[in-house]
Subunit: 415 residues, 2 copies
């Protein structure tokens, strides 16, 4: 069964709002095992909305429309959808009663505009709205097709979809979709894909799809079956195979788990604390780690040491080192990591020093050059990276690389 999502609203086409409804509906439909082939956004223009609905009825089984159900003159989704399905609008008693109750409760008269919200296509299931005045509806169109109309505000759309639409869709689409996301934080996308080309080529159920994220590659493994247990069983061997191929380069196989969460958990398990001495990243490493609720268990203090003086004062970086090899060097990164750990009495110290650019380059040191030191219980490793992109990208990727280094160091030195 295939669905398509149609969002109606000129404000989306003007870029005034980000279309989070589409992302929500997509994710829920995928979880229900319904394939979404197209998402279309169209403005509040009757001809164009009608063309999009008619095209959808030709190529998909289910159309899900959001927006354009309000009381104003611009709100025409229902009228156009009914017309496209060849249905007349009739008054729905329960919808009318709810509107009357609502306007009585807020002590405002109901206008002619509001009354039109009680009109529904003749062959539909009405979805009463617990969080607004516009009812939604599932129009039963020809050939068993469904046209589902939902209000635009996410606070109305989300509960209506979850509580009223999902049970209807579940009955239409037998089977369960289940997926795991294998997340790799230390290899490039094309390298990863080359390593699993054979799996991608012979995939059917489960499927494997690679996605690049900032400094990471995610492999989504998805299976479809009659029950969740069967789908899980189908996913298992593929995940095992990926684990065999990528080993400790995988940091999680859970969709919702982030690299910083994995770090905080590893630190908690070892009852370790972490600190950092950040130069070019200026606090972003720790700022990202503190995204994790409970970071307070593993963090007491951390340092942003931008000037050479601060590196000497707080971390004990040696003046000779700074003079001889400069602030952006392997030795400085090492002393920063070790000095931070010592000053904060932390098990793990991270030192990040680099040239984020633009400017500041020398013949030997180009923008994007970053040294990262990681010290775990006195054992220190320093890596050199030449990162690409603008100042912000270099800094963000440096933070990801530092997190990966900590993860691998904890696995290696401190099991």
């Amino acid at each position: 069964m295939t669905a398509e999502i149609i969002c109606v609203g000129t404000e989306i086409l003007l870029g005034n709002i980000v279309n989070t409804n589409a992302a929500y509906l997509s994710e829920r439909l995928a979880a229900l095992g319904i394939s979404v082939f197209f998402e279309t956004t169209v403005g509040d223009n009757p001809q164009r909305v009608e063309a999009v609905i008619k095209q959808g009825l030709e190529r998909s089984d289910i159309l899900i429309l959001s927006g354009g159900l309000g009381p104003t003159k611009d709100d025409l989704t229902k009228e156009i959808a009914a017309k496209a399905c060849g249905q007349k609008l009739v008054e729905d008693e329960e919808a009318l009663r709810r509107l009357e109750t609502y306007f009585a409760s807020i002590k405002r008269p109901m206008t002619e505009n509001n009354l039109k919200q009680a009109m529904v296509p003749e062959n539909c299931t009405v979805l009463y709205n617990e969080n607004g005045t516009a009812p939604g509806m599932v129009i039963h169109a020809e050939e068993g097709k469904k046209v589902i109309l939902l209000p635009g505000p996410p606070s109305e759309l989300l509960p209506m979809f979850q509580n009223q639409v999902e049970p209807i869709l579940q009955k239409l689409e037998p089977g369960i979709l289940y997926s795991k996301v294998v997340k790799i934080d230390c290899l490039g996308e094309s390298y990863v894909e080359t390593e699993i080309l054979d799996l991608i080529e012979k995939q059917s159920n489960p499927t494997v799809a690679p996605y690049a994220k900032l400094g990471e590659v995610h492999l989504r493994v998805t299976a479809k079956a009659d029950t969740e247990e069967e789908a899980k069983e189908l996913v298992k061997p593929m995940v095992s195979e990926l684990k065999k191929r990528f080993g400790h380069k995988i940091y999680t196989i859970e969709e919702d788990t982030t690299l910083e969460e994995v770090l905080v958990k590893m630190l908690e398990q070892r009852k370790y604390t972490i600190t950092a001495a950040e130069s070019c990243t200026g606090g972003m490493f720790m700022g990202r780690l503190v995204n994790v609720p409970g970071a307070s268990d593993v963090l007491n203090e951390s340092f942003i040491t931008y000037s050479n003086e601060a590196k000497m004062k707080y971390l004990g970086v040696k003046e000779e080192t700074l003079k001889a090899v400069g602030a952006v060097s392997e030795e400085t990164a090492r002393q920063m990591a070790e000095g931070a750990a010592k000053a904060a009495k932390a098990n793990v110290g991270v030192g990040i020093t680099g040239l984020a650019g633009p400017g500041g380059e020398t013949p030997e040191k180009k923008p994007g050059l970053v040294y990262i030191g990681v010290c775990v219980n006195g054992k220190t490793q320093v890596n050199k990276y030449q990162l690409r992109g603008n100042r912000q990208k270099v800094r963000e990727v440096a933070v990801s690389r530092a997190m990966t280094m900590v993860r691998l160091a904890l696995e290696e030195f401190a099991k």
Copy 2:
């Protein structure tokens, strides 16, 4: 001239990512005076991508596609777009040279997959990518139509569109569009909109459009005329009117200027240095300030003091204060700001302490409660905020509020 936006990527249809590219492109096209009638998202499926491109070529003048330019087998946008435009792919020397340089610099072999990124349609303008490996391109199709291909990652798409595509689009659309963006960092969107309702209602040329951004409201004033001078003259009186209404609540009227840039510039002009003592934001305040090239002129060191001990040790926050009113309190924020300024010998000290949630609440202190202290040359002000949203949102908005407080304090105490 009409455009449509086509986003290619199964990950969008699966709801794995929110389509922020579409919102960005919509906003920029609106600013350029180009009408967007449709936005479509389609998965990595050759037949469906081709159908969408062909439909687009029939109904719009400009197609803007994002995604599907990577090195993997799923990435087929370029191949399909070239086919739909009846063009062959040829190797682009400069693109190949850039790929070779990149892989040499990261000391990794270039795979066959990567090589395909140097192939481009025969009649196109290549858009070289400063932030990734995939070049973009403007395909010159029949009847003067343009098919513009952009890489999917926002860090690559945004600068490529702004620096390379906008100048091309500006030449296609006769007349010059000129805009200023009045950025307000200390009022809510609905308040701002109410204050300018009369201007919005009678607008024609220039237009005024409000957009809410994280902790900010932007008012884009756009005029269209035959020459840039004429357009500038049309924009001027509206910007003056907005300045009269919002005064120092405006921090810039320049599109590309960010709040952190304004801060760094104000500090530079006064030859001031800044430091911060961050608790719940964990380094994000300074991490954002360091986005500005040249931040080194105004920053030597900064503190992430998560534990009470660290607040006492580095900032001199009094134990009695922490015992009596707690770490999340007006008095602690004050002592953090003043203590950081003293320890770092900085003119400006910022103290941020709050409950980002989830959890940790008491009957008096709910998640979202943040105290921010700002000390400029010994004069300190502390504000209390009750922010809304999840942990990350609370922390991001707290950073914005702290920046605004520093800006206003510098304007007031230190002209």
